[in-house]
Symmetry: C2
Subunit: 194 residues, 2 copies
């Protein structure tokens, strides 16, 4: 584990860039996430990051990939193994809460055109998609998990975005939670009783 003792070589610039990028994202939103600002914060010349990221998009994709992993953790923390519609609704609430708590990160993850180049990013989104599918399958063993998981994901994702864009009442977390729960419950009561 090299340190920043020798002032020339940084030691772990790749990780330092990622950390700086995330800090800038939280502080100034995605507009403040510039390669040069990242380099400045890492205490390194403007072009040094190019040794570790092909271009700005590559860095952003790496940030997004981290975001996907953290979203997955956040959902798992809401309920490790949901088995009832209510437990699943808790996961949905966590999804929307994640979006509202870290809007810039959520936008980086979903609002930009997803470049099919970044394998890291594609793998991360595939993982989360699979995760949702698994939950739905566990809660409703009988139904086709593909169709239902798509529907519930879309519903929750849409709620997240509309809240993010200020198109819904997001005044208090309680209001948001209740709304998400109600929407998910409505969707599930039909699927569970065919």
């Amino acid at each position: 584990m090299p340190q920043a003792s020798s002032s020339y070589h940084h030691g772990d610039l790749r990780a330092a860039c990622l950390r700086a990028a995330r800090e800038l994202l939280e502080e100034d939103g995605s507009a403040g996430l510039s390669l040069r600002a990242v380099a400045r914060r890492a205490g390194v010349s403007a072009t040094a990051p190019y040794r570790h990221y092909a271009d700005r998009d590559a860095l952003v994709s790496a940030v997004a990939a981290e975001g996907y992993r953290e979203l997955a953790e956040h959902l798992a923390a809401a309920h490790p193994e949901p088995r009832t519609p209510d437990e699943l609704a808790s996961v949905a609430v966590a999804y929307v809460r994640f979006a509202l708590d870290r809007p810039a990160m959520f936008r980086v993850m979903f609002a930009e055109p997803c470049d099919p180049n970044s394998e890291e990013r594609v793998a991360a989104t595939a993982a989360i998609s699979e995760y949702v599918r698994g939950i739905v399958h566990a809660v409703f063993p009988g139904v086709d998990p593909d169709a239902l998981s798509t529907t519930v994901w879309a519903l929750v994702h849409g709620l997240a975005f509309l809240h993010l864009d200020g198109k819904l009442d997001s005044s208090t977390p309680e209001v948001v939670d209740a709304q998400v729960r109600a929407a998910v419950r409505a969707l599930f009561s039909v699927s569970a009783a065919p």
Copy 2:
């Protein structure tokens, strides 16, 4: 109605900028939408647009506002006065189709942080929100239109975004249509039978 006869004053630079901005958006995506490129296309100096738009965001907001109006027209064209869940589903299909047909425009409308400054933009989103509410109320006179319209809008909006991000199967329009219809039908069959 002044013309571009006198080479100094453009005549209607405001509209020309809007048109140029929309063309650039379709050609190069939102990355190509720069104020300077707009000015070049309008055949005018780089700073001339500032007489009509305070900054780049103001121009983008104006483009988004046009997008909202066109989306409303597009939905109305799908079915002028939906009265059944199936007719409403047709409107939902039109919504997703709009997003897939004009991804750059859709992203400008929804994927960027909505600045509460632009009255034009706020009014346009309020109008479309009200429009959805009206439809839901017409199709389901009995239920609370606020809650249900929020849910259906979120569902359709989420479907649009997931398709846009390549997270769902968008291989053919038919596949997309069927999926949207199925999702909306599932949501409505419960709300219609309390």
